[in-house]
Amino acid sequence: MSELALQGGFNSPPEDAARAFRSIMGAMAHPGRIFGIKGVNPPAPMSVAMGTIALVLCDADTPLALMPSLDTVEVRSWITFQTGAPITAAGRAMFALGQWREMLPLGRFNRGEAEYPDRSATLIAECETLKNSGLALRGPGIRDVARLSLANLPAFQENAAQFPLGVDFLFCSGTQIAGVPRTTRISEV
């Protein structure tokens, strides 16, 4: 294991993770709204936002899948040392980390069961930018309509159509995050 794996965690885990979780919860409760998040410095190419989410939510109880762009020795050993999460295939993962375009098709991720819709994967996806423009988001957590710069509309529509099953998304860019749970209905206008 390289020395890099030992670095970049929270300075003060209880307080820093609590603050970061509030951003994550805000993102999931207000789909499309962009929140700042920080506290962790993961190895490239993982963003600060993605690394912070991973350290807030993942541990030995959460099998985790790395998409090809993040499946490097540095990232693997960093995730393993910092969280203890077992790295696994997409179909068995509770969390998946990678570029958004690498996540498709979504069908390979766990979408939960009729009696346990909570047993579905959460996809933590890197985007180049996050802006409040583009596709229109409606549903719980949104008063009227929210807008978010997302690509691949059909994948979201297919996911939402499976409600109450489906995967949930946290999008990351630099130190920003935005959430899109399966309840969010997305359209062009």
Partner: protein
């Protein structure tokens, strides 16, 4: 302070609770199972709410705790002191100043804003439990959206009493999908559940967490010819004169004389101190 991890719980437990909260927000009204911990207070004292609050609080938060609307009852005071001691957070009795509000059986009268979080203590999270004792069966009923039993129960209320007799823990349908127990809040509070704040529900003994994101559709079950009636005692508060608040009936002497007063102590005091409607 240094004897405890921040907000009492260990970090692995908080991660587990945080994951449950996120799935709860993603499937509003669905009860997410979680590995509830022993807390240094008995079941029935809000161990579910305390665990959710512990996983939610940050050092910058201002916490308010109410029990049946009151900030100054034993349960509210002990939970407030618990978090003062273990998380060193600011506390308040003012609804408008609080960022996190833990509640037992009431929603504050003052309208909550975006950014606020309301944490409910829940005794029995399963709305169908008194109609169907088996968890295996109720879980199937939720999966199949088979809620006829609840409608029959409400119908029988009407045929026996002439009206729906349920006055607290009145069942609601969330976003047209999941039947949800709003915890034992009076049905007077049900219409307030469509709010701007995040609502989190914790049931410690029953090991369930569920949630409502802001602006989620929450509909109290009813019938076309027996529409939902939030109900309210036909009095004004005898302290502050409010005619729109939920009232407690209090026996004031040995002769059994009664008075009606606001259940929400902060709302009532704000009005008495001349800070207007709920001190906004």
């Amino acid at each position: 302070m240094s004897e405890y991890n921040f907000a009492y719980l260990d970090e692995q437990t908080k991660r587990m609770i945080r994951r449950a909260i996120l799935k709860g927000l993603a499937v509003p009204g669905y009860q997410v199972p979680f590995a509830s911990r022993e807390m240094p207070m008995p079941y029935g004292w809000g161990t579910g709410g305390v665990q959710v609050s512990a996983a939610t609080l940050t050092p910058e938060d201002t916490l308010k705790v109410i029990d049946q609307g009151a900030d100054d009852t034993t349960n509210a005071i002990s939970i407030r002191r618990f978090f003062q001691k273990t998380a060193d957070v600011e506390v308040t009795e003012r609804t408008t100043e609080a960022s996190v509000i833990q509640t037992r059986h009431r929603i504050p009268e003052t309208e909550l804003k975006e950014g606020q979080i309301l944490v409910y203590q829940v005794p029995i999270p399963e709305p169908l439990r008194f109609l169907e004792p088996s968890e295996v069966e109720t879980r199937k009923m939720h999966a199949l959206e088979e809620y006829g039993l609840m409608h029959v129960k409400l119908y029988e209320d009407i045929s026996i009493h002439g009206a729906i007799a349920t006055s607290y823990a009145y069942p609601v349908k969330v976003e047209g999908r999941y039947l949800m127990d709003p915890s034992p809040i009076p049905k007077f509070d049900n219409p307030k559940m469509e709010m701007a704040a995040i609502q989190l529900f914790g049931a410690g003994r029953e090991q369930r967490i569920y949630a409502l994101p802001p602006y989620t559709r929450v509909v109290s079950l009813d019938f076309e010819d027996h529409p939902f009636d939030p109900g309210r005692a036909d009095h004004a508060c005898e302290l502050c004169g409010a005619e729109n608040s939920y009232l407690d009936e209090v026996i004031v002497n040995d002769r059994g004389e009664r008075m009606f007063v606001c259940s929400d102590t902060d709302f009532c005091e704000s009005r008495l101190n001349g800070n207007g409607e709920g001190g906004a």
